[in-house]
Symmetry: C2
Subunit: 304 residues, 2 copies
DNA sequence: CTGAAAGCGCTTACAG
DNA sequence: CTGAAAGCGCTTACAG
């Protein structure tokens, strides 16, 4: 299918010859090894540049026994439409990973996880396909990690953690944002509030709900209704029905912006006036948050 | 940061010893080399399995001078918000690439293209970081490819092509879908039609517009208005203003579903009745198409 | 400061 | 059918 790359590739020894040094010294120059003088380094680099010599990562990787790749493990089943890919969340995570990986000379490999066992995940590292794994989307109860940890497979979670386990993770603290929300509502003399939670298969959903409840108590607000969504816009839309069954809260705090957006759409459809009848608070700062109508109070520009 | 993987790794020679064969034979067994008997192959494989031997791809890659990776080059600038990642289009392309790559023993490497020169792209292949490049999002006039081609760098486009160039590409033919649309409208005795086009930096936008015009002529329909969008939902929303400036077409054909969705939202906001006042036709079959209200005529279920 | 040499773990042509 | 050997292109410890 693909045509093969140019065969008459420039090799390290071509550079060595032209520069009048040994191949070892070429390597040292290219890798900024301090044992050779800067003058030699620059001269060799210049010649390498001129000849178009590009060191092969394959040799380096092989010698160092490192692939310089990190696998990002995405839940993915095409049939079941489990696709986290097309979300802003994934976009951001991926971009962050790409940035910091490239700073360290690593690249990111996408791994479509259609239900790998811990052994299969382990093999990705043992075969040196990747050096380690990032899990950006984990559900509570995923039991593959104790095996990986025991085997010394390097891995890290994003927005997930397991209590009392030494697993590394990156997460954000939902408390400050949630506190800001409730504080704001409290300052506006709002007392009867509701909550639209996320899918409790994810630990952040549980955390945010708990934080919400604790803060409601702290600010002496009355929680009149709590509805469970699943973080999707659709679930926000559907939550309207649940909220209309009971006394409508003066404000509804949502566990993320996508649900807030769907909730807003659904409430408008039911002719509930926003923010007069009920105020909506999102969470996440996703781009979608800037597209609502009415616009967020901190973003009083026109729709677009 | 990351803990390193287990040190006492099982090597090929451990398997060889236990199986009473040479390391070469272990390789042959693992790789299903037909020169050794199946009985030997199976015995060796079983022992490898028991000992937990996993061949290193690093050695193989090095020997074969192949990385077994394909780079998928995504336009990406965080500041300028050029992010194709969070779209269903990218999700589908990526998944397809992952699937077919894995069938051939390849993996997919994400490359965030914040404006690479052709030389930088070339280096990705010369350094054997990847074996070839996929460009899933190209703008007309991208002039980096003649250099890559001349240098023998393997690359392939998705939904892009350059006329009179031998560059490989994968695309879909927009004509049958567009014809189906116009044929349908024609059968319904609809005669005054409009078009909402995509961003003409992309060749598909131009193609679809041209196909639309040609077909309108073929079916003897009158094109009363053509508006340019940029494939986004927002641009569909904004196009409403343009469509309302002139005589409203009986039907508007959109170059993709996202714009059709936005257009629908915008028209509803202006209290234009769908499909009584104007019919909307999308293009693409994106998931978003199933979420419209009113639902598509071929999908008469409730909203969700 | 620099070169010659060893070795990273594989695959495969070669010899038997 | 199978083993010993060469070699893929690097890095680096060692010797000078």
């Amino acid at each position: 299918m693909l045509r093969s790359a140019k065969k008459n590739k420039v090799h390290r020894k071509d550079v060595a010859k032209k520069a009048g040094v040994s191949p070892s010294t070429v390597s040292r120059a290219i890798n900024d090894n301090p044992s050779i003088p800067v003058s030699t380094r620059n001269r060799v680099k210049k010649i390498a540049e001129e000849l178009g010599y590009v060191p092969s990562h394959l040799g380096r990787n092989y010698y160092q026994k490192k692939s310089f790749r990190i696998g990002i493990v995405m839940p993915f089943s095409y049939d079941k439409k489990v696709r986290v890919f097309p979300t802003e969340y994934f976009s951001k995570v991926l971009f962050g990973a790409l940035l910091s990986a490239s700073r360290e000379g690593y690249t990111i490999n996408i791994i479509a996880d259609s239900g790998f066992s811990s052994q299969e995940l382990e093999k990705l590292v043992l075969s040196h396909s990747v050096d380690g794994l990032i899990f950006p989307v984990c559900k509570i109860g995923d039991n593959r990690f104790s095996y990986l940890y025991k085997k010394g497979i390097p891995f890290i979670f994003i927005h997930y953690y397991v209590r009392n386990k030494p697993y590394l993770y990156v997460d954000c603290d939902s408390k400050p944002g949630m506190e800001e929300s409730l504080q704001y509502l409290s300052s506006k003399k709002i007392n009867r509030i509701g909550f639209l939670g996320g899918d409790e298969e994810y630990i952040n959903a549980i955390d945010r709900k708990k934080i919400f409840i604790d803060l409601a108590r702290k600010y002496k607000m009355k929680v009149v209704n709590m509805v469970n969504g699943n973080f999707s816009r659709t679930s926000g839309f559907l939550a309207v029905k649940e909220f209309l069954k009971k006394e409508l809260p003066e404000a509804i705090v949502c566990a993320n912006d996508r649900m807030a957006f769907g909730l807003l759409e659904g409430l408008k459809k039911e002719n509930v006036r926003i923010p007069e009848a009920v105020r909506i608070i999102g969470f996440d700062n996703q781009d979608i948050a800037t597209l609502t109508s009415p616009p967020p109070h901190y973003y009083r520009k026109s729709f677009f």
